[in-house]
């Protein structure tokens, strides 16, 4: 057992932290949250220049680093409340290609992702906003040697800036809803696609993607026709853990800013951090931070080792989601009125925590899953 980061992971942590402290000040965060794109090309090129866009991509396709390295980086990104298509591209798009792509498709996409030349995302959820197979209703019908896709995907991260969208569509009606699902990788400029940016509380970029008779060829299929669901499950597991890592970062940073405030803010002649009522809240926040961190890294480690991880992933997402919410609530209580304003940075973290909580299964979803697996 080893509860520390290894040399490589520490290096990634420092790299990401140094980069973000230079490039992603609170001022930039405010601008990005308010802007429509949510990031700049300049920032993206810098992310690529330090090879963060190569994480988990096999060396033969120009990448380096494993899923634990990616987890470490996502944790740092959470600490800075980073808004960017990094998660969509690296955790959703790249993982879909890595898990389901043919060698040719890997050749086509992965080196460009690693080089920072492609932004991708996954269009999975629909207006029902559920993560179960039966919620996939967008249809791809087989007509004259090609597939025609129609329907609406909702809550698609970063579709407005993506070059390609991986669409999870139904190609066959079957008694088992997990049968008949197919993954398509679609150029955003294909006729019939339209993307609408949703206005969200956190300023993260989520979209509605409408498919109106979008014609795609057999070459655009990722994996096997009708047999795409197991890939979706794998991507969802990684995505859930990725969101956990971001929440761990959010929670840690929120605790740090709360401690700074509690040591500095005076009341009744003492810093408020000297009062037990404040200290005990902070102690509980640390339990939540440490607990989230280890349950998250355990799941990431299992995935990284290729071990069955369903149970650990669901535990992590359910637990970290609730823990992170408790941490931000306590942070608001301790910060008092200033934390309740838009002037203070805290609310961005609160909103990010909320966005992460519902992304790729909330605590209810994962507890239900866990109960189904083991109870």
């Amino acid at each position: 057992m080893d509860f520390s980061l290894n040399e490589q992971q520490e290096m990634m942590q420092t790299l990401a932290r140094d980069f973000l402290s230079t490039e992603y000040s609170d001022k930039v965060l405010r601008e990005m949250a308010a802007s429509e794109r949510g990031f700049t090309d300049e920032l993206w090129q810098k992310v690529a220049a330090i090879n963060l866009t190569g994480l988990t991509i096999p060396e033969e396709y120009g990448g380096a680093g494993d899923f634990l390295d990616l987890t470490v980086v996502l944790e740092e990104m959470g600490k800075f409340c980073l808004i960017s298509p990094f998660f969509s591209t690296m955790v959703l798009g790249a993982q879909a290609i890595i898990e389901a792509g043919s060698d040719e498709q890997k050749q086509r996409f992965l080196p460009r992702i690693a080089g920072g030349k492609l932004i991708m995302t996954l269009a999975l959820t629909e207006p029902s906003a559920r993560y179960m197979a039966d919620a996939v209703t967008v249809k791809a019908s087989h007509e004259n040697g090609q597939f025609v896709i129609s329907g609406t995907k909702l809550f698609v991260s970063d579709a407005h800036v993506s070059d390609y969208i991986i669409c999870v569509a139904r190609t066959k009606e079957a008694s088992n809803p997990e049968d008949g699902i197919t993954l398509f990788v679609i150029d955003i400029n294909t006729p019939g696609m339209s993307v609408n940016l949703l206005d969200t509380i956190s300023g993260d970029k989520q979209c509605e993607v409408a498919f109106d008779n979008v014609k795609v060829s057999g070459e655009d299929i990722l994996g096997e026709v009708d047999e795409g669901w197991p890939y979706v499950e794998k991507i969802m597991a990684k995505a859930a853990v990725g969101r956990c890592a971001e929440m761990v970062g959010v929670a840690r940073q929120v605790l740090n800013m709360t401690l700074d405030y509690a040591k500095e803010r005076m009341a009744f002649g003492h810093p408020i951090g000297a009062f037990q009522s404040i200290q005990h809240r902070c102690a509980d926040m640390l339990v939540d931070v440490d607990g989230s961190r280890f349950i998250t890294y355990q799941a990431a480690w299992k995935i990284n080792e290729g071990l069955p991880a369903d149970r650990e992933v669901s535990m992590a997402k359910a637990w970290a989601g609730q823990a992170c919410q408790r941490v931000v609530s306590s942070a608001h209580q301790i910060h008092g009125a200033i934390g309740f304003t838009e002037d203070h940075i805290l609310h961005f973290y609160t909103k990010k925590a909320s966005a992460c909580k519902f992304s790729f299964g909330d605590n209810h979803f994962h507890l239900e899953k866990l109960a189904g697996q083991s109870i």
Binding site: M1, K263, W301, S374, I375
Partner: protein, 392 residues
């Protein structure tokens, strides 16, 4: 990060399991007794001593000690593995005070003579220990303790009353902290830590029965009890520092997460068999399973740190706080699950699960108080872990 056990650790677990499969009395396994209600069995102390000696013969009680003191120099994870298996097999035999707390404190702060005298008895499972810290007037505020020992030639002579001493009625030896300097300022610099033979004249032990009906606690009276100076650990007036290091071990001595997880599995089984798995209950059980997993990882982190030569302190407080709260929540859910049946004791013919649910539920009220209250745990985490300022 790496969450795997080594093949050697796995093999050790298998060896312990195979041994316990053979040795643990059938009745203990049938009733699925836990660390928190085992002592209520009429034959407990006899079975405990027998099992302790068998575990001692195997060398398992001291497996993680340095070789020069009879250990095998194994990682502290082995201690956790042993205790996890003892929990899974509902076995007594591990003196969580002697092996869990006193031994590591002696290894850290004891003299060579003290180590030579006391460690073998603990390693062989032959000596039962108690520790005596609290007094009727002072619990959390340990530095305020008043029971006084006056110096008299080669001895200190103790007079006064202590309380909440677990197993004082069974123990062969006692780790005792008392005041040896009434003028010391701050007060914690006037305390001394002694090893006391419980056969010494002048000791009176009276039972204090807890609300679960178990006899674990005692009050202990000292009437001119003479302790030789060579039994001082850590030096005169240095007892506070011995206790502080001991508490860091004490907070992770018991594998409460494993006890909670075992009870949770049994509750799940009971719910399934009795058609009690409502969606709300299922979700609650799943939530507690995740809590147990987090608690497990927090304990492993501490063992890993100890193995690395790092000194955990707030990390231990986090373990104890979180896993005790989880165990309490599991017992509360158990009561909820059993409903009316939760009110029956093991003497009732209708009682499910041998009455373990109400028994551990009631016992668990003590979790928030023993080994430092939850409030003290949170103080430790906030002040030592997070560097928040102290008012006192």
């Amino acid at each position: 990060m790496d969450f795997a056990f080594t093949p050697d650790e796995e093999a050790f677990r298998g060896e312990v399991a195979a041994f316990l499969e053979k040795e643990v009395p059938g009745e203990y396994r049938e009733k699925r007794l836990t660390f928190f209600d085992m002592a209520a069995q009429s034959d407990w102390i006899k079975v405990h001593r027998e099992m302790a000696e068998k575990l001692g013969e195997k060398g398992w009680l001291s497996i993680h000690w340095p070789e020069e003191y009879g250990g095998r120099g194994a990682s502290p994870l082995y201690r956790l593995i042993l205790r996890e298996e003892l929990t899974r097999y509902h076995s007594p035999g591990y003196d969580s005070i002697g092996a869990g707390i006193i031994a590591p404190a002696l290894l850290l702060k004891g003299s060579e003579e003290q180590k030579a005298k006391h460690l073998p008895g603990i390693a062989r499972g032959k000596v039962i220990w108690c520790e005596t810290l609290s007094e009727p007037g002072h619990g959390s505020d340990l530095a305020a303790i008043e029971v006084f020992a006056r110096e008299d030639e080669d001895c200190f002579v103790v007079n006064g009353q202590k309380i909440w001493t677990t197993n004082a009625h069974l123990a062969d030896w006692n780790a005792l902290i008392v005041r040896t300097d009434r003028e010391a300022a701050p007060k914690h610099r006037g305390l001394t830590f002694f090893l006391l033979d419980m056969k010494t004249p002048g000791i009176t032990v009276n039972p204090v029965i807890n609300m679960a009906g178990h006899h674990e606690f005692n009050e202990v009276f000292f009437d001119d009890v003479r302790i030789p100076k060579e039994n001082i650990v850590g030096g005169k007036n240095q007892g506070w520092y011995v206790v502080m290091s001991l508490l860091d071990y004490e907070r992770t001595s018991d594998v409460i997460y494993a006890i909670a997880a075992t009870l949770l599995e049994d509750l799940t089984e009971y719910a399934r068999e009795n058609n009690l798995l409502t969606p709300v209950m299922k979700r609650r059980l799943a939530e507690l399973a995740a809590d147990c997993e987090v608690a497990r990882l927090l304990h492993y982190r501490v063992a890993w740190m100890q193995g690395q030569g790092l000194v955990p302190n707030y990390e231990s407080a986090i373990c104890k706080l979180f896993s005790s709260e989880v165990h309490q929540r599991v017992t509360e859910t158990g009561m909820q699950l059993l409903g009316h049946y939760s009110q029956l004791t093991d003497k009732s013919a209708w009682v499910p699960m041998y009455g373990r649910v109400p028994s551990t539920y009631l016992r668990a009220f003590g979790h928030g108080l023993e080994q430092g209250t939850y409030e003290i745990d949170r103080d430790v985490i906030a002040q030592r872990g997070l560097g928040l300022p102290r008012l006192r």
